[in-house]
Each structure stands twice: as C-alpha cells, then as structure tokens.
C-alpha cells in the first residue's frame, strides 16, 4: 500500500495520541477538593452575578486551597452538557450560576445522586442540591427608599429583565421602599423581555425617562447596560445598578447599586465542601447575612446626604431587627403598610 | 494511459499542415504539447520563435471587449494604467494587416461566432508566432466563412508562418492543406503530400480499415406524425422564428445549418424545456408550451440533446443508472440492469460493464448510451441534435445506422446537425435553417450541395 507522506504523519500523530489517552487523570494529583462552576449565557465579564460568583470561587481557591474550574455556557444547550461533564469528572461541588439553569440542575442532579450541586437564585428541591437565594426585596427596599428621597420629579422607575417571580422581588421591594418614604411618588414598571437585549434596554430606559422618571432601578442583566448607556446622555437622572457594584461604569450617574453578594454564597458553600461537611438544603442571604445591600455611594456623595444615609440606616436596622418585612411579591406589596420610624 | 506515443512531426514555414485522426487519436493532445500547455513525458518539441494556438472551443472572456481579449496580459501601459488608446490602435493595425476586420471596442459576447474566431486568431497573431496551431478551427463556421478563413490562413503561411490545422473534416484537408499527417491511437500512421492522396485513403488510414457502411434504408410507408406551424421559440441566446414543417413517421428529416442559428431553440421546444408560440400537433394532439418534459416523454417524443455531458448524462453515475434516465419510473428499479445490458450489447458500449462510471468512458461510448437508451424506449419521434458530435467514425456510423433502423421501424426522426455529410448520408428530406428561419427544403433526390451551402450562410 502506497503511503502518502501527510497520511503517514497523521497516522503517527494518531498513534502518539492514542497511547496517551488517560494521561489526564480523573482526580487531581494532590487529591485536593475540586469545585466547578458553570456560568449562564451571560458568562464571565458580565459585571454582574457571573463575575460576582467567580470572585467567590477565586477567594475559595486562595483561602481554602481547592482546585477550581469554570465552564462558560454559550447557549442554554450548554448548561446540561457543562454540568454533566463536571459530574462525570467527579467534581466535589458544582455551582450553577443563575436561575436559568434551575431545570437543568434538577435533571443532572437526579442523574448524578452522588455528586453535589448548588444553584444560585433558584430553589431546586433535590437532596443533593443547595439552593442559594437572596432577599433581593430587602436591598431593593433600601434602593426604593433612596430613590424616593432623591427624585425631583416625584416619579421613579423600575426596569426588569423578564417578568418572572425572581424579578418581581426586586420590583415589590423597590416600590415598597419608595412608598415608605413618600406614598405620592409614582413608580413606573417595565420589563425588557430579555436579559441580553442591550438595545431594547436602552430604548425602554429612554421611554421611562421621557415619561418623567429621573431614577431607574435596572434589574435586567446585560440588557441593563443599555439603560446605563441611556443615562449618560441625560442630566440630573440616575440609574440604580444591580447584582454587582456597577457604580464605576458611569461614575456619578449610578446613584448606587443593589449588590447581591453571590460571592459570599459561593464562598460559604465552598467552605462546607472544602471541609467535606454536608451542605445546607437552602441558604438564604439577606441584609443580615450581608448577602444584599447598597454600595458606598463613592461617586454620588453630593446627592446622598447624611440625612438620607441616616434614614437608610434606620430602615436597615428595622429590616434586620424584623420590625419591617419587605414585600417580595406584588400581592404583598399591595398590602404593604408604612411603618413609623 | 498515453494520449500520444512516439510521434515525429515536422512543420515547414509557409505550408499548411493538416493533422487528422479520429476523436481520441491524440491530435489535440499533440497540439497542446507543442504549445506547451501539456507536459510530455519524453521527447522534445523544438520551434523557431513563438508558438500560437487557437482552440476549438474559444477561450475568450465574453464580458470583455475585443481589444481587452486580444491584448490580455500584454496590454500597453502608461505607468500603472493601461494605455487604452494605444491598445485600440494596436488591435486596429493588427486586424488591418491581416485583413481580419473587427471592431476593437465591441463586446465579445455580442459577436457572432465567425468574428469571435477572428478575435482568437488576432490574439495569437499579436504574439507574432512563427508556428500557429489551429484546433478544429472551422467547427462553427459557415461554408463561405470556411473558404475565407482558409484564404487568410493561406496568406499567413505565405508570410512564412508554419501552420498546423487539426481537423476531422477531410474535404477541407484536401482543399486547403499542402501536407497531411494521420494519427490513430496516439501514433502517426501516415504522412502524405496532400496532392498525392485522397479523402478515401485518409479515411481508411484514420479508421485503420474500411469505413463501416451505414444501415440500408428500407422503403417504408410514411404517415403524418408531427406538424409544426409558425413555431417561434427561444432558449438562452438561441432563437427560432416562425418555422413550419412536418416530420412523418418512417422518415428522417435533416435540419442543416451552422451552429447558433436557432437549432437549440427548435430542439428545446420539442423537448418541453423552452417556451414557444405557434402550433405543434403531434400524432393528432396539440402540444402546449406549458407541457413538462415528462409529458413529452410520455407521448413518445425523445430528444437526444446536443450536450451529452450536461443535458443527457449524470457523469458521476454508472452506466446502469444512466441508461434508466428518462425511463426511471416506467422501467422500475428492478429492470435497470437488464436495460443497461441490452443497450451495451446493441450499441457495443465499451467497457461492457453496467457498473462503469460514465465519466470514465470515451465520448463515443457516452453517446452510444444516450442514443441507445433513447431508441430502446421505442419512441415515436426522435429528435437527434448533433448525435455524432465529437465521436469517432466507427461510433458515428453505428449511431447513424441505428437512427436509420429506427426510421425503418416506423419512427419519425428529426436530425439536427452541423455536419452536412451526416445529413446527406441519412436524411430523406433536408431543411435548411439560417438566422432562426427555415430557408429551404430539399428532397433526397433533389439535394443541391452548393445551394444548401449558400442558404446556410444566409444567402437566400
């Protein structure tokens, strides 16, 4: 059989590679705990909760001396595949970042009962899944209160990603916070219908501004970046950012950010995993746990006066103390009554 | 396989040297080797000066102008730009000096074939060749154009250019060449001074024996089959204008004409692939312009298209599946192999293998498959458009004989050909087509070669 030279090279390469199958070991050589993370389609660099989760993972790596791996998802089809790969590779803890993966976590967790999974922002009822959720309504309440104290037009707005229960927690808490300060402040509510559509985010923010709002609380993932784009072109208007500290994206134009400390959730669960301890079924992080909160207003100190800060501090104490319960649904919002401070 | 083997050939300045041989004898390969387009494994070609080659199929860029084609890659320049004025002038001077009139600014796609040939020739002449190779130069020329073409070529020869004409038209060899070399199967089998030989002798040398005789024409009772009244049709650039004629069952009607005079439109209208106006009555029923090719096939109208490679065959397929094409449904898959064996046997297809890939067969054997499957379906009307184009004398004789046999068996045959000899050898009646119109009709007894030639050239 004549052997064409390139073919010979290929056969040689094949032979080399095939003898080496299995070189990459299943367990890391040191026997360290291995923690994997699957991002949602937002991916690393979203300046939002994927990045925040990653920060927690990085901290776990340095502080807890665990091995970590991140798999990014390009589309929803990747969620199950990525988790399955990590499960097959017998990772000790697998984080699914984002409620979009709730159903996929359920599926994969069912198929791999010996592995342990954690999901951020959703509740998955499986024995081998830790659900990490946040009391967004608590942080949003403070954001709403600050907005109501700051608005000059007596109109503020909420711009959500997709109209689903998770996002309504933001909406309800925000509206309640505003009502607590001043019931006459109008709260406009709109949803982009997407977490990725930056153009629509920008357009809808423009609509809300033109309807009289001068502050928009934006909880719309990547689409929220469009709203931030919009506010750069307007004087006297503010955006309230969400999830991670977005204040620096448009210094002075972002009143504050309602930060969700996904990193704290990730780090806490990682700590349990590193210690080979059982993980809780449900980890809820609110103001009390430091899981949610506002940023330090470093670009907007001139607007956020000490008087306003004092009000915020009182509200915060009331929530942590349990005397004030922030509503997390539209129904609870409807029956929300202001409390005397 | 070797296309050319151990050939010695010498061209003299000032003479027209004809190179003849059957298709596949190696003529074109030899010309290509001489030109330098094909590498020879052994041996050498020596020429004093530049060698020029005019191809059988024009290698012109249709979208460009005449001067652009003639001077391609040799354009006079002014800095980085082409000096258009100088280019135009150079082409004008060239065409005047050789008596080849042509407008340098005409778009090639708008030119008739005869003029395109001049452009091809001018392109080679611009390189001032000392040797000029002409591959089947008259394939698409009218008889009168052929004469003037050879006058030009003769002038060239007198100026000292050595000229080799590759051809299979023996009449032209006898009329215009000074020397003739015959090739068969890649070898030179004979070389003569033209004045010392005859067309018959050359033909025998080409075939390597006696030229096969055609099937005898039986006298058969004819009956009306196809009546065409006022047929106008268009297919691509081919236009047929107001044609009226009839084809009777049991006769071969030859349509004589030069390529590009409406024959394609005629063939395509009958095949059901070109729109037409006018009246077509076939076996008592009216054919419509909206008919599909399938409905024409169902009525027993079968067309042997001009371009077997694109219009008739699936080259990547084997013989068996190609034989079934056109009858794929009526035949039924189980009978494809049997039908293929029948055609292979009746038409002497080589190799006699139903599984052979058609692309690997010679043109002659490919054509045998096309004609074979057409006649095997017992058609009522056969439209044969250039059925022997580019195939050897033996295969051509076989195809022509089978057409005659189909006629003898009662089929009507419309033979559209650019080869007058083929029409004269087989047709019961001859129609002449020129510029898309039918300009003459002759019975077999009353055939007048000179008159037909004049009509073909458009001289009424």
């Amino acid at each position: 059989m004549p052997c064409w030279p390139p073919l010979r090279a290929v056969l040689l390469a094949l032979a080399v590679v095939s003898t080496c199958v299995g070189c990459a070991g299943k367990q890391s050589a040191s026997g360290a705990i291995r923690i994997g993370m699957v991002t949602d389609v937002g991916g690393l660099g979203d300046r939002s909760f994927n990045d925040s989760a990653y920060a927690g993972l990085v901290r776990a790596k340095t502080d807890l001396h665990v091995d970590t791996t991140v798999l990014q998802s390009r589309s929803a089809a990747d969620y199950q595949i990525n988790m399955t790969v990590l499960a097959n590779k017998e990772y000790d803890e697998i984080f699914a970042i984002g409620f979009l993966m709730a159903r996929d976590v359920t599926e994969v967790a069912e198929r791999y009962p010996q592995r342990h999974f954690s999901i951020i922002d959703a509740v998955v009822d499986q024995p081998n899944v830790t659900s990490v959720t946040f009391k967004e309504e608590e942080g949003s309440f403070l954001a709403g209160a600050l907005a109501a104290m700051t608005t000059k037009t007596k109109t503020i707005a909420f711009l959500g990603g997709i109209d689903i229960p998770l996002l309504r927690k933001f909406e309800a808490g925000y509206a309640a916070g505003a009502r607590q300060i001043d019931p006459s402040v109008k709260v406009l509510v709109k949803y982009v219908g997407s977490f990725e559509d930056v153009a629509s985010g920008k357009e809808l923010a423009g609509v809300q501004f033109s309807e009289g709002a001068d502050i928009i609380y934006v909880a719309a993932g990547k689409a929220g970046l469009g709203a931030i784009d919009q506010v750069k072109e307007r004087n006297g208007a503010f955006i309230i950012g969400v999830d991670s500290d977005q204040d620096a994206i448009a210094p002075g134009k972002i009143l504050t950010s309602m930060v969700k400390r996904v990193d704290i959730g990730v780090f806490r669960v990682s700590g349990q995993a590193a210690a080979r301890k059982p993980r809780p079924a449900h980890l809820t992080l609110g103001l009390k746990e430091g899981g949610v909160g506002l940023t330090d207003f470093r670009y907007t100190k001139s607007v956020v006066t000490p008087a306003k800060l004092a009000v915020l501090a009182k509200l915060r104490a009331a929530i942590i103390g349990g005397t004030l319960v922030a509503p997390s649904t539209r129904e609870e919002l409807a029956s929300f009554k202001r409390i005397p401070l | 396989m070797q296309a050319v083997d151990g050939v010695d050939l010498e061209l003299q300045p000032g003479e027209i040297h004809a190179l003849v041989g059957e298709n596949g004898a190696g003529k074109s390969t030899l010309a290509a080797i001489a030109y330098g387009a094909v590498r020879s494994d052994d041996g050498s070609v020596e020429a004093v000066g530049v060698v020029g080659l005019v191809h059988q199929h024009f290698k012109l860029i249709e979208r460009l102008r005449v001067w652009e084609n003639v001077l391609l890659n040799r354009e006079p320049r002014r800095g980085w730009a082409i000096d258009v004025d100088a280019a135009r002038e150079r082409v004008r001077a060239l065409s005047a000096s050789y008596g080849l009139a042509v407008d340098p600014d005409a778009l090639v796609e708008t030119l008739p074939v005869g003029i395109k040939q001049r452009v091809e020739l001018l392109r080679e002449l611009d390189r001032e060749p000392s040797v000029l190779l002409l591959d089947e130069p008259t394939a698409s020329l009218a008889p009168t154009e052929i004469a003037s073409f050879f006058t030009t070529v003769g002038d060239l020869a007198k100026r000292g250019t050595a000229i080799m004409v590759v051809t299979h038209k023996l009449a032209e060899v006898i009329a215009y060449s000074q020397r003739v070399t015959v090739m068969r199967a890649g070898r030179v089998v004979a070389s003569h001074l033209t004045s010392e030989t005859s067309a018959d002798e050359i033909a025998r040398e080409m075939v390597g024996g006696e030229v096969p005789a055609l099937a005898a024409r039986a006298s058969v009772a004819t009956a009306p089959l196809l009546e065409v009244r006022g047929l106008s049709a268009r297919s691509g650039t081919s236009v047929l204008d107001d044609a009226t004629f009839e084809v009777r069952a049991g006769e071969i009607v030859g349509v004589a004409g030069i390529e590009g005079n409406g024959q394609t439109a005629l063939s395509d209208a009958l095949a059901g692939v070109a729109a037409f106006t006018g009246e077509l009555v076939f076996a008592g029923t009216l054919l419509r312009a909206s008919d599909t090719p399938a409905s024409r096939l169902a009525r027993g109208i079968r067309v042997i298209p001009q371009d077997r490679r694109h219009e008739a065959l699936v080259l990547d397929w084997n013989v068996r599946d190609n034989v079934a094409l056109g009858r794929q449904r009526t035949l039924g898959l189980a009978k494809y192999a049997g039908a293929a064996r029948e055609v292979i046997e009746r038409f002497d297809v080589r190799p006699p293998n139903p599984d052979a890939i058609v692309a690997a067969l010679s043109g002659g054997n490919q054509q045998k498959i096309v004609v074979g499957r057409t006649l095997a379906s017992s058609p009522k009307l056969v439209v044969a458009y250039q059925p022997t184009r580019g195939i050897d004398i033996g295969a051509a004789a076989l195809v022509q004989s089978r057409l005659i046999e189909a006629r003898n068996a009662g089929a009507g045959v419309l033979l559209i050909s650019f080869e007058l000899d083929e029409i004269f050898a087989t047709a019961d009646r001859v129609l002449v087509i020129a510029n898309g119109k039918f300009v003459g009709s002759f019975d077999r007894a009353g055939i007048d070669r000179g008159r037909i030639g004049a009509l073909m050239a458009g001289n009424a």
């Binding site: 059989m1 004549p2 390139p6 073919l7 390469a13 094949l14 080399v16 590679v17 080496c20 199958v21 299995g22 070189c23 990459a24 994997g36 389609v41 791996t69 798999l71 390009r74 589309s75 929803a76 089809a77 199950q80 595949i81 399955t84 790969v85 499960a87 097959n88 590779k89 409620f99 979009l100 709730a102 159903r103 599926e107 198929r111 959703a122 997709i162 689903i164 997407s194 977490f195 | 692939v273 599909t292 090719p293 399938a294 024409r296 096939l297 067309v303 298209p305 694109h310 219009e311 008739a312 065959l313 699936v314 080259l315 397929w317 079934a324 094409l325 056109g326 794929q328 449904r329 898959l333």
Partner: protein, 340 residues
Amino acid sequence: MTAAFLRTRAFRDIVVVLVLVFGVGSIAMLLAHVSPIVGFGALFDGAWGTKGEIAETLVQTTNLLFPALGIAIAFRAGLFNIGAEGQLVMGGFAAGWLGAQFPLPGYLAVPMVLAAGTLAGGVWGAIPGIMRARFKANEVIATLMLNVVAILLTTYLVTGPLQQGGANGSETGPLPKAAQLTHLFDTQLTWAFVLALVLAFVLRWVLQRTIFGYELRAAGDAPEAAKRAGIDLGRTALIAMSLSGAIAGLGGATIVAGALHRFNTGLSPGYGFIAIAVALVGNLDPLWIVVASVAFGMLQSGGIAMQAEAGVPKEVVSLIIGLVIIALAGRRVVASLRST
C-alpha cells in the same frame, strides 16, 4: 483499504479533517501553553473515559446526526440548505410548546411531540423549497435568513403571546414526564440515538434503492439532464427541502424531549451549522455521516472536558470545526462553480 480508495475524494476529505484536527488543534494548544498530548488526552478521555462520558458523546452524536442527515438529503438534491439550525429550533419549539400545552397519556405524548417537531421543521424547510420552486430564489440566502427568523420568532412567542407557566426566561413550560424520552443504560442517552441510527439506514435505502432517491440524486448531480429526463426539479426541490427540514426538526424535538424537557431558544449551540461539516465529512452518505457525527460528537463533549481538565479553551474545538467547514464546503463551492 485498496489503493484506489486512497485516491478518492472521500479519503482525501478524511485526511484534510485529520490534519486540521491534529495540526491546527496542536498549534492552538501550544499557543494556550498546553501540551497537545495532554490536551488531546483530556479530549479523548473526556469523550470516552466513563459510561457517563460515552453517553454524553453519543448524545452529542445524536444531536448532530439528525440535522446532518437532513442537510445531506438537501445537498444530494443540489440544494445548499444552510438552514438546519432554524429548522431544528422550529422543531424544538413546536415539540416543547405543544408538549407542555396539551399533556397527553404516555403512549401518545412522545409520538405527538416528535411528530410536532418533524412537522414544524418540515414547514420551515418547505418555505425556502417553495421559494426555490416557484421563484427560483437562492436557497442559501433564504435558509440562512430563516435561521435568524426562527430564533427571533420563537423568542418572541415564548416570552410573549405563547408564554407558559413555569417558564424561566425565554423558554416554554416544563414537558410532562409522559412526553419525555426514556433514558438508556441509566444515563442521559435516550432512544433518540437509536432512532437517528435507524433513520440513517432508512435514508441510505431511500437514496440508493428507490425511484424517489434516484430522481433526487439526479436532480442534484445533473439538474439539466434530470429536467430533460422528465424529473420535476421544482417539485423535487420542495420535497427535498421539506424532508431535510423535517429531519432537522425531529432532531430539535428529540433535544427537547430527551434532554432539556422544555424548549429554550438557546437549545442549540449551533448543531445546525456544525452538522454541515458533519454531512460533508460524511461525504453526504448517511452511513458515513453516522461515523462523522460520532467523531464530531466526540469533539463536542470531549472539548468541554478538555477545557475543564487541561485548561484548553473549548474554542479550539470551534476553531477546528470552522476550518473543516471552510475546507470542505469551500472546495465543494469551487467545484460547483467550475462545473457550470
């Protein structure tokens, strides 16, 4: 393997693919500071190391096999269907939405879901088929555009007028258990894999052993000759495109019913495009396509493992697949331009 086979186009394609995979793959890995031996080792191990990994490779194989078979049918008919992605999405949408909207008992639910996907994909393929048959519209552009339309349309539908309860983001509600495909060997592999294999054999038989397949191939291999042989090119184009779309749509339905258990607008990471390379590497022959889709399924699943274990970005795999498409599809386009 005979010497003659070594000179065939199919063989040369395989060599081209291997050179691209190992050559370009190695260069990319070296640029990522990873030894190609470690990288490819992780890739092979991640694709075939455990039962779960083999299952994942075969799931990816299945997801590529359906659209690749659909593409092959269209390509064999001479139609460059670049729209398998859109047809797959439409099939997945119809399957997911109907499955969630109309819960049926078990023996009916799965057939209904799969039939809905097949039908929707078929319709989506028929649109460019009709455009081609009626108006001689270029099917490459039509199918390419319809990919975008399919994604946008389904996104609009599931987040707008057809929004269902239990949905997170741009997806339908959950598929009831009855409408989900049964798993095989206690892994994520479902019998969609078996269905795809059977389909490959059936399509091979249809192409080679039926008059329909004969006419379809004739229309693709020599359209002018086919037309003159009484084959209705428009009708053949319509049927081939519909069938092509239907098969891709069925693939979308199996992804929904087999893995996601809901329709999500991001259900395909580009299966419909990768499948073009699969179909071409498989030389448009259904049985070779099975082999090619196993190879590409391995790249898909092993690529992720390679990223996790060896730190080689899985974009290396995307890069390789992209080069394979350019090399094989580009060559075909050049060849088809030359023949006209």
